[in-house]
Point group: D2
């Protein structure tokens, strides 16, 4: 049994991680920290876990994290980079669900996240945790940077096109819609029920932190810089990301076959038959990305639809998938729950 610690377990990624790990056959949950809720039973904060999670939140200062095999950071950005080094030196492997180790260009990271990076050397070492791209490296990594929710959906949707070099790489468009849980469990006015319900809006059009992360991933796949317009939207639902991707066709191939072939052996990517439209509930609470490929009116614009649950394949589920790889377990362990519909 792998000993697992969680730093920052009171947000949505944290509680989703708890849900998944409590049903994982290969782990022993050893410690969970929260400065604010230290001393409180986890199941008092989240009654859904009553009878299943006996742990109490520890103060980060006292938590037995160094005796863990792996520690997940489900913290706000800027925390993991401060605490990772000492854990790594103690032999603990790390999966950071926050953004601290995602951007390899530290200057770029500092510009978007508006703080000085505390551990640039770990950025250099960290492996970007998208198993569909970096499976081998993840399995050996000491630090895994778990991808953002939008970047997971957008990259999985674009990758076959980019790798095959069959679309105009200078004018990619990702029109992405996210459920409100993507904004976290923070007391902020704009994500109140009465503000976000029965409402729809774009945000961050001038610039969003996930844009450089996506650019980095796509550039790595093609070997050069790409052009991407990325527009995120807030949709009145709890979970789910729907990425609608547009790319101008430059090379004529069988796009359906391209996608099916690229993801044929992937356990968590499902390419739908031609003509289908994936809905976000078809992946609700499950570690799956479903993708459909359309070429409307046989024109020169390809439309790709990709859906994930932002808290599972977009956060905690992918983190568990990465942990499974890191410790040589079957990649799907603890991740076989079916989507919950309706």
């Amino acid at each position: 049994m792998i000993k697992v610690g969680i730093v920052g377990g009171t947000g949505y990624s944290g509680v989703e991680l708890l849900r998944l790990l409590a049903q994982h056959s290969g782990v022993e949950l050893t410690a969970i920290t929260s400065r604010k809720e230290a001393g409180m039973a986890v199941a008092d904060l989240f009654p859904s876990l009553r009878g299943r999670i006996g742990l109490t939140f520890s103060d980060p200062a006292n938590a037995p994290l160094t005796s863990c095999d792996v520690v997940f950071f489900a913290t706000p950005n800027g925390v993991a980079m401060g605490e990772a080094r000492s854990l790594v030196e103690a032999g603990v492997r790390i999966v950071d669900i926050s953004a601290d180790f995602r951007i390899r260009d530290v200057g770029e990271w500092e510009k978007w996240y508006r703080m000085k990076h505390a551990a640039p050397e770990l950025v250099a070492e960290a492996v970007y945790g998208l198993p569909e791209v970096n499976r081998a490296a993840i399995s050996k990594a000491r630090v895994v940077a778990n991808p953002g929710c939008y970047p997971t959906a957008v990259q999985l949707g674009f990758l076959p096109l980019i790798e095959a070099n069959v679309v105009d790489l200078d004018h990619l468009i990702a029109d992405a819609k996210s459920g409100v849980s993507g904004a976290g469990r923070k007391a902020e006015t704009h994500i109140l029920f009465s503000e976000a319900s029965d409402n729809f809006a774009a945000y961050g059009v001038p610039g969003h932190r996930h844009w450089p992360e996506i650019l980095q991933g796509l550039a790595q796949a093609t070997g050069k810089r790409v052009g991407l317009t990325f527009v995120p939207h807030l949709a009145p639902m709890i979970r789910g990301i729907h990425a609608t991707l547009y790319a101008r066709i430059t090379g004529d191939v069988d796009f359906q076959a391209l996608y099916e072939s690229r993801y044929a052996t992937e356990p968590f990517v499902d390419v739908l038959p031609p003509g289908r439209h994936p809905d976000t509930r078809s992946v609700r609470a499950a570690n799956v990305c479903r993708i459909a490929v359309h070429r409307p009116h046989d024109g020169d614009m390809l439309v790709v639809l990709a859906v994930i649950d932002n808290l599972v394949k977009g956060a905690a589920g992918q983190a568990v998938q990465n942990m499974n790889l890191m410790f040589g377990m079957d990649e799907t362990t603890g991740l076989v729950q079916l989507p919950v519909i309706p």
Copy 2:
């Protein structure tokens, strides 16, 4: 492995049963019928099941139901009573999720369900499938009548009081709120998104079919007729029942202790500590009933709050629980999924 058949798998109870059975270690899904969708792959209708359920809907006429050990009816009312006898005679055991076998008084049933009962002798034999009351009888039953969603929540909420005879049994009140999935997957105007969303209303105040079912259960617990006012409401959420129960106190006991003691060994009933208010999401997608007991202002009115997921403990989950009992499996097999929050 137990061979399982499902009659009528295209509604919400049916698809929820599929979700649970696909994750159940002791069953082999053998047949699923739908007159309307015969020939269609189950996963084409419900993409959430892609890669996990390989079955195709069979026409009821050809389905190999008699070779099953157990058949679930997830059909509209009036279907199971017509098909149950031949299955029972073939040695197949039955869990009916519809209402056909719930009311022991056939005349009363016919009044509320407005049709002639086709199998009164099976009504006499059927066991009401509320494990917290009838566990022993269920384990030996050939036909189990799976309780309605409201009746499950209301009975579990009232039973300790009734059995202990500490409240006025002539003036019980159950103010119950249900998510819209309780109305089924039927194309009806009043449950359209644009009608039911951002809206709240009572319905069926003059009379609702679950009223006689609840009355029957409570009367059985006390040995005499009780008086109950039952007001169901439609709440703008997909899943969940919240029953708010009112009873005038006639005998002064420690109500918290009464509830904790009554349900101490129940795997799927969770009595909350004093002062808590269960929310429906704390049982979302899980086979749990959570209950809290309040005595406001130390007055003579007791308030009991009980929540379930109407599709799990209120339908498909309880059906699996009953199946587990009928076949001597651990009662919790396949039912340990944690609630999905947020």
Copy 3:
């Protein structure tokens, strides 16, 4: 034209008041204050008002409130009581949408609101602004205490029964459900979209501030203390209150006729025909209370269903109705907008 000021215009009662007053033919909006947003154009905070409200939030210290004919307080509890006296002395009349002047027993108020009252003499003078009860007094009042949202629905629902003395006044039950906007526009975790959506729960069962307010109103109607169990619930919708009221019948009258007669001349109370169930959307964004009366199974328990929009008849709309009465305008001025469905 009446000169109107608003103190605290950034919450939901405030912005709803702006919506209504902008369409009111008899008023001139003169000042609106917000300590936090001083200097910001109202339409910058609420783009729905662009082109229609030209005002800028003033700092409360500088706002020309004393030159107004009437000032509305749409503030958190505890603000109006500190500022009302000087305005009243300057000849300004007041409609307080907060709770500061609702409870006549100052000690009781201080117990529930956990602060010392700053203006007990104005409590004594203030008129409780439920026009269906206090119309004449309101028209002459200097200070009107606008009722709470739950108290409006519950009192309008119970009043005919209480005044006619035909039910057991010791065991009244009000099971009330509110949309989330009733909790205000405050950054609090429990009313986040991801917490409150697709969820349902009771709260405040041990005690809620609206309980003494309702008790006071019902007691005034009958001349003696009544007994009431009040259970509020949070429903996943933006607007709306649905009160389900239970009373044991002691005097046999034609209840439908009783209600129709009591509210025959009321412009904003609509008694539905027998057998109907009002839904909250039928009053969405309108200053109406709809009521239905049921006697299930001809038993001895009466069930009354009452719905309002908590922000209109439960707050800003009733405040405008009170203003109309205070200034001798037609009571319905500015309040004839039709409900918005779907």
Copy 4:
């Protein structure tokens, strides 16, 4: 007072038309038809109209439509084309909210709507009712084809760019999101609350009937055929359309100034200041289109955000606006209700 008739008043466009006309000072509602609900009081079907609309649904055969000045068709596609001619010949002017007269190329219409057109000569005569383009022609029209909801938002969003010829007209992209009421008040499974809630999906990517309508409008503005990829999505909200438009910049102008100038005198189009993101609730229940223009990272891709309420500016409100123009009334009569937030 203009005498108004409505054919087909039981859908969402119909009831929204009733809400608006009931508050319109210049009309007298004379007849409303519904084959299915003939004889029923309108306010019995829609309790929100109780006390405000006294009409009863008439059978279409007997309704006094020819004595009306104007008749609105709020019918399914294919009805208006059969009934319009006789009304026009009787001197009645027509606003068709359905799609019968929107596409000038009858063959194209027949292909998309899968029926033979019954009145091609009226198609030739009909004026496309987008006042921001065709105001003068509308004022003299006998038949106005009220635009579709998506086409209204997409055209208003693209028009300034097209007219100024400053973007690549061969590769326009419209990623549009609609509330569920856009699908109408029809009993269909996919728009049930339990299907559409907490869910998001694209639909109609291979082809949607609003695509040729938008193409026609944009082509008319530029004088030649344009290329457009149009992807509609179903969002879990009742009302609202959010169109996110992408166009590659070919001519460098001040885009903010271009939009402000184009719509400077339009009463119902609001161009937001730079940097803003319109949300659909900012136009909820109001006849307004709000638009924002972005050029992310100063690149060569322009992003335009346009929101409307699909039932108001996207249907009934625009229909009333057209009627106002046709009868020489102030264009804003009856359309000044403020958006309802929250």
